[in-house]
Symmetry: C2
Subunit: 461 residues, 2 copies
């Protein structure tokens, strides 16, 4: 527990109303979107970089853990204060500081919600490509901390591809600026990239310069139904080699199809092994051609049915089924969602491995994912109150991680490592790379106060 | 000078024919594409990661500087062995190890020439977006070391956006793997990005996993003539806000126009203040619209003339003038090419500053650049044999650097810092960011043997 003297100092520094230390306030900040929980000793709600800096100076002096937190929609336990200490909640630093349509950039505070930025820049005909499923609640600070992805990353890349510069408060409270406001910038090492995806373990991001793009005017949606999931994977390869880089290539397997159909009729055949939802985006006249190429690729790959939405409303209807997956799976039981990525050509094999693991452990394993970029989200359906089942779930999850690594993939495509996967990092990384990551952690945070215990199970001292 | 014993050890390790120590061999490796020169003590031509590793183990043990080198087409002095030591020339590690069209990746050794990769992947309908002007000679290892750009980076981003993973030999000869083969990968810190653009000061890249894209099938070229360069800048903003992200937005100022016209008639008006060359790329039917939007944007911004190439041959003719700039300027005298980047909205002001600096120092300052991404290449025309003029050139170059920084830009957009700009880095970076870069350098290269004296004028130790 943090000494009362420190709480008093934090209150004197930030104002008592933004330093929460009652049990009922603290419990609200014990969670993220995983099943983990741990109480922070105190919650601090800064309004400015200066207040973040002041908080970290105190924490650094007193060796108190600091866990940065945005909307806590994270799926790897990154925002859970497992060592207690200070929950540094950045949601009140939520101002869009600048939108510059001539330079295609926005400057934001970390607490700005992804959707709020999207809406603000849409007024200028612009958009910000990263679109995690949590986009309507997750903060850009959280997106940067996790290097968030989303369905449209196949075409546009991930969060790191859109961060031009950062203001970061370091462990000792000092304030550092990295990068700049230009796409091209080769002055010195790319510290910006080092902080993106560092999950709050190297510093606290307090300002972000983001690259924007002009928003394409039209979008078309194609749904293709397959009797074999491997044919769906082949179809995506055919689409891309035909010269089309789709916006999304969303896969739902038979389990997901049946789960959503059991909720209401989305018009999907429950005997299919997979459906693909492929969106293309651009100028209307080009989309005619792209839709035709997508249709041809799917048919050649063996689709039993291909539907092209004729308008927005039909596209919405096709997407409604995709969006219904998560709530529909919840009706099957508790669900543990995973997030592995393999090279695209290994997806059929990875799907087989997941299904075999499900059989071995007697678990249902519905799968969906953004297969264009190799990112699969298998779910393990379970009962959290049954300790024996949960032991099997842990074994099955581990087997899935190890299969992904074995197939040349990675532990996490877009959810981060956090707590959930830290025990597997040693198997996923080159030992020398991991050793250097620990040395970097030690260099930036010598007392290990910044989100301790995340990403790596151990420290280097 | 390196001890003869070490030379003998290198010869025993790599074979005498790939360890060059005669004066006539060494002098060949004293240069890059700048005016700097310095003799290496010995030149080593490894064929494998193991040989790079063996060389570095010796260098590390003996504290001998190692300067990695590709084609030496660099424009910032990065490959010049200013402290002597070993020139580690990687041009013989030039195999394309894999092209995987299903995964949209290529795996290459560092000595592969950019153009050779482009040709190899074109057979699969793919391309590698970074296109430095030196693409027909520069190596991908050099492109990675400098985080190379090129004209089409506005649309596609720079080299770092296409590097998924690396094999790096560290200062002590140990071999580290970073990243992987997938677009999405959030397992641990992004070491890959730290090495891209590090100019051979943190490690020697021996294998590169690159992201590829499907090659667009059609391209159109528009040339627009302006009486005021500021109108050309406004035109580019209008193009982008109209929803078109061009492939290139190349600017030539009046001095460049007159220089190329003095060589032969490219059909450019010598009384114009600027021409813009805008290329768009995609499906043919969409390009009709994009060309119309580009034309409208240029006319609204005040272009006195807009020409749209009707076919490949006409497009080639328009581009011939752009490609003639560098040789045409060489006819005016010696030329020092610069590489600053400013936020796009500051380009008109930067152009005015460059012109004023030219007047102040009595120097001609023709300007061209990739203005969509804010990257300008002003040239200083001079006489290298005239010491008084060269003193003015140095002052003028410094004034240009400082103006770019003052306008929110950066010292280098795509050429790197190397030797040429290391004395200005302290003014371009946040002091804390620079201090941490030096700490990173010390962490990876404690004895400062890797390309010493580049990027930073001093070391941390």
């Amino acid at each position: 527990m943090i000494d009362a003297r420190i709480i008093a100092e934090l209150k004197a520094t930030l104002g008592a109303e933004r330093v929460l230390d009652t049990p009922e306030d603290r419990v609200v900040y014990a969670y993220d979107a995983t099943w983990g929980e741990a109480l922070p000793d105190v919650v601090v709600l800064p309004l400015s970089t200066a207040e973040v800096s002041a908080t970290l100076r105190i924490a650094h002096r007193e060796r108190i853990p600091v866990v940065p937190r945005g909307a806590a929609s994270g799926l790897s336990g990154g925002a859970i204060p497992i060592s207690g200490g200070i929950c540094l909640c950045l949601t009140r630093m939520n101002r869009i500081l600048e939108i510059n349509p001539d330079e295609l950039i926005a400057v934001v505070q970390p607490g700005v919600v992804n959707m709020d930025l999207q809406r603000a820049v849409a007024r200028y005909g612009l958009f910000f490509p990263p679109d995690p499923a949590s986009w309507d609640m997750s903060t850009l600070g959280g997106n940067v901390a996790e290097n968030a992805g989303g369905p449209r990353c196949l075409k546009y890349g991930v969060t790191k591809d859109y961060v031009l510069g950062l203001e970061v408060v370091l462990a000792d409270g000092s304030v550092m600026r990295t990068g700049g406001r230009t796409i091209k910038n080769v002055t010195g090492y790319d510290l910006t990239a080092l902080f993106v995806g560092s999950e709050g373990t190297l510093g606290v991001v307090t300002e972000i310069v983001l690259k924007l793009l002009p928003k394409p005017v039209a979008r078309r949606t194609v749904l293709a139904v397959f009797d074999r999931i491997s044919d769906a994977c082949a179809a995506v390869n055919r689409v891309i080699t035909s010269g089309v880089l789709p916006l999304t290539t969303e896969l739902m397997d038979g389990d997901c199809i049946r789960a959503v159909q059991s909720q209401r009729d989305y018009g999907l055949p429950t005997d299919a092994d997979a459906v693909l939802l492929i969106d293309v985006e651009g100028w209307p006249e080009a989309l005619e051609r792209e839709v035709a190429l997508v249709r041809a690729a799917c048919e050649t790959a063996g689709a039993r049915e291909v539907r092209c939405a004729r308008d927005e409303a039909e596209a919405e209807e096709l997407w409604a089924a995709r969006r219904a997956i998560s709530p529909a799976l919840a009706a099957l039981g508790d669900k543990l969602g995973e997030d592995i990525t393999v090279p695209r050509s290994r997806i059929p094999e990875m799907v087989e491995r997941i299904r075999a693991i499900g059989r071995t452990y007697g678990l249902r394993t519905p799968i969906f994912g953004h297969i264009g970029d190799g990112n699969l989200h298998p779910y393990l359906i379970c009962d959290r109150s049954d300790a024996a089942v949960m032991a099997l779930v842990r074994q099955a999850a581990e087997a899935i991680f190890l299969a992904a690594i074995e197939l040349g993939g990675t532990l996490s495509g877009e959810h981060g490592i956090g707590l959930a996967k830290r025990d597997y990092v040693a198997r996923a990384l080159d030992p020398l790379a991991r050793a250097h990551m620990l040395r970097l952690k030690h260099l930036f945070d010598p007392h290990n106060i910044l989100n301790p215990g995340k990403i790596f199970a151990e420290t280097e001292g």
